[in-house]
Symmetry: C2
């Protein structure tokens, strides 16, 4: 390739990236508006905000489906100088753009609009149905949603040995299939159910030592902020606010926003939520800023994002070493009564295992069982093996089998989550895959860094964050999730590290 051709290719690539970054800016602008809507906006702003978000979505879509962009992409793909090294920044951007645009092109605009309208309607219907615990009120709109999701899956298509679920999961976890999910989930289910039986067999149930007294929200806020900062969250490039449901929004690595929530008797919930979102936030702050707005500067997938939140929430925040560091420091923030809480009691309280109906309140042992219930059911719904009308019954049967619980009503059963109302089929398993990746990453970090617990006890989380930066964050979308796992840990995704970790930890706490 002559220098002249090289320069021309460079100009083509730059023009392509300029369009992509423009779409990226419109996306992150919509992100700011959505954050503001959840955290700051007065109720009167709703109508105007919807119009602004719809306009930004349209402008972003126009850019990404602009024939100029497709043409530039095709010209770049034809240039070996940009693609020869498949892990180069240019090759990664072209590969991931191709993936995203091809998927976008497969959905007719009418189906996109229909899905958005239905999702908006279905969420209202769902919220009302949940409030009344009335599945029959949700059933028609869930049937409509399922029909639309099946049409969507058909537009995307799936391989001969696959199924509709695969086509939809691709939006959240590129490359993931139901078959692969089943393989990874199988040992997890057996051994978690057995672990749960052993735990329950001890009859022990550690108390939450922070629930003894009411702790005012402002004190809890100062404590969780101290923890987020200690873990490495950079408040010069981020914020921490309050919202009904905790979340993390990253607009670019220089502006990453977390939210949490406070109840006077639920400090562990506020802390756990904050650490979870801090994990997401550390990932966003660690993405390469020079690639912001292009795939090379984006997170790999939902499961990998969740691996980062679970990593800090569970592997760090639910370890004895972490509590040895934190408990002596808490009275400064929470007030004097926290001085009576020792590291062992806090550690045990943060690892209380008790099957419950609600996924988002579940502990480390039962959480993944909740996910497996949803995975089995959404897969069967999409295949046509399960009718929507039979969903509550099927849900309750699986809850009995996996969790040993009799679901008392649909509000605490199949109506509890908003995902299906949103049209998000194929999403749930990413939570569990993330949890597994997190345990696997912990093993790799320990191999590389040595005694992590010794570091946690000193409150020195910098080596771990530095490891996460170079191992995961800085790669952006260079690797797909399972490929990243192999590069970082030397092994394919497996439930084994998580199971070993949980079995060892709970054996120690529950003494079985």
């Amino acid at each position: 390739m002559s220098a002249r051709n090289g320069a021309a290719a460079h100009a083509t690539y730059d023009a392509l990236m300029a369009l992509v970054r423009e779409a990226g800016i419109l996306g992150s602008t919509a992100g700011i508006l959505s954050w503001d809507q959840e955290v700051m906006m007065p109720p009167g702003g709703v109508a105007g905000r919807s119009r602004a978000l719809a306009l930004l979505a349209r402008l972003r879509h126009e850019r990404l489906t602009d024939p100029r962009l497709a043409d530039l992409l095709a010209r770049c793909e034809a240039d070996p100088g940009l693609t020869a090294d498949p892990l180069s920044d240019t090759a990664v951007n072209l590969r991931e753009l191709r993936h995203d645009l091809d998927r976008m092109a497969k959905l007719p605009a009418s189906l996109v609009a229909e899905s958005a309208a239905l999702a908006s309607r279905a969420q209202h219907v769902w919220a009302e149905a949940r409030r009344k615990s009335d599945f029959s009120a949700f059933r028609p709109v869930l049937e409509e949603t399922l029909t639309l999701q099946r049409r969507k899956a058909e537009c995307y298509g799936w391989p001969a040995d696959g199924e509709p679920w695969d086509a939809l999961a691709e939006d959240y976890e590129p490359g993931l299939t139901a078959a692969r999910t089943e393989v990874v989930f199988a040992p997890l289910r057996t051994r978690l159910v057995s672990l749960l039986e052993r735990i329950r067999g001890t009859g022990r149930l550690p108390e939450d030592p922070f629930a003894r007294e009411a702790i005012p929200a402002d004190r809890q806020a100062s404590a969780v902020r101290f923890v987020a900062e200690s873990l490495g969250f950079d408040f010069a490039r981020g914020r921490l606010d309050v919202s009904t449901h905790p979340f993390c929004s990253g607009f670019n690595p220089g502006d990453v926003r977390l939210t949490t929530r406070f109840h006077e008797r639920k400090f562990l919930d506020a802390l756990g939520s904050t650490i979870h979102e801090t994990g997401h936030g550390l990932y966003e702050q660690g993405l390469p800023p020079e690639h912001a707005g292009t795939p090379r500067g984006e997170a790999v997938s939902y499961a990998v994002h969740e691996s980062q939140s679970r990593f800090w929430e569970n592997q760090v925040g639910r370890s004895r070493a972490f509590w040895r560091w934190l408990t002596p420091r808490l009275p400064e923030y929470l007030g004097g009564s926290a001085a009576s809480v020792g590291a062992d009691a806090a550690f045990a309280g943060a690892n209380r295992v008790e099957p419950g109906f609600i996924r988002v309140e579940a502990d480390e042992v039962t959480y993944n069982l909740h996910i497996m219930i949803r995975f089995e059911l959404e897969r069967a719904l999409l295949r046509g093996d399960l009718a929507v009308a039979d969903l509550p019954q099927a849900w309750n049967r699986l809850s009995r089998n996996f969790l040993g619980l009799e679901v008392p009503d649909d509000a605490r059963g199949c109506l509890q989550d908003t995902h299906w109302a949103m049209g998000a089929f194929g999403y749930f398993p990413t939570y569990s895959l993330g949890t597994m990746y997190a345990a696997q990453f912990r093993q790799a970090a320990a191999s590389a860094l040595g005694d992590l617990d010794a570091m946690f006890e000193k409150g020195d989380f910098r080596p771990l964050l530095a490891w996460a930066r170079t191992s995961v964050h800085e790669h952006g979308r260079r690797y797909r999730a399972e490929q990243l796992c192999a590069v970082v840990t030397g092994s394919p995704l497996s439930a084994e590290p998580l199971l070993q970790e949980l079995e060892a930890k709970f054996r120690e706490i529950y003494r079985f």
Copy 2:
């Protein structure tokens, strides 16, 4: 006109408005991003935010200069059905759009870009020069700014009997000229200088009774929020936050945001700033929501906006009746020590008159004198009657003449305001015109409603707000400023009502 033509005209007008509203949404999205930047954004977000704001400005400009829009506008203007009644919604929108687009068309894109770049650079240079009180550091960039502003004025043009200042002031106050400003300012200057002499002659200087003790920011915040709500600010359609410089941003009538600031010994500053911004906010909340994003749903001008902020700040918040209502209620918010502050002491403290160097800290008597200094100087600079090099000397001479002050350094003199560094020539007088409109509006409101003081004493501000809604807010840009003044008050703009009010109030307080 046949029904068919009517329907077609309607479709053309609707298409025009759809484009205009889209530009409006991009503008208000930029507004949210700017509010967030001032109030919420972490420092690391600066670079990404600048890119987002630049993109939104470009997209908005592209829409407003789209030949399709010009074509639609021309077709609508040719349709008497839309323009026959010059005060109809359609006629107002077409007239004001024509005004805005014609001005936009007169400026070459290169000049707009050059001005934006220079303003950004000049503000940095100015901030540093002010910090060091070094006019010589600011002088070159102010000379550049002046050259660019003169070029801008030439592009806009001005009538034979006008001057360059008129061309620039049109951006802030359509129809205002330097000659007209001078006519209104002349009696104001003479009588304010004489009023100031009489006040100073008494040797009295009321103390600020709230400065005796430190009042924590959170207590002040609850008090000023109570006042804003009592005046009628709707918190379901707005917010109140903290920023370095208080401001009001209205994104649409359903989402209007105020900011204020707190210092432990400056409760009156926090309160005055809050009431001022509440006045702006009440105007924004009172604009007709069905016209949001079009001229018919926008504020008239800078002076009329300022008339609403000053109205609540001065005519209400600096009245004895207001303090009679507020002082007994303050201890609930500020704590017990506020119980010792009586209505008369608070009223006198809020009306303390003392010439000072800084405009933004000035009282009601000296404030307008500060403005007149700036007006004379910017007019002379633009005419070429004053060289930038001679600005400090000219500034200091006028400060001596108008305020009786010897300016000790340029930081407290001609370097104090950012407006000229921003390229905002022709802006300053709108502050004083707003102050005059406010007094004139108060007279009209009193004629319509009767004893305003009796209402204030009971804390019943609803009739006054209702009057402001129907007299000013709901008109949007239906009338130009002076026309609105004539409609509302029956008289042209005049300094007389303000002077009468100030002379009566200060005679009572200072007993001369």
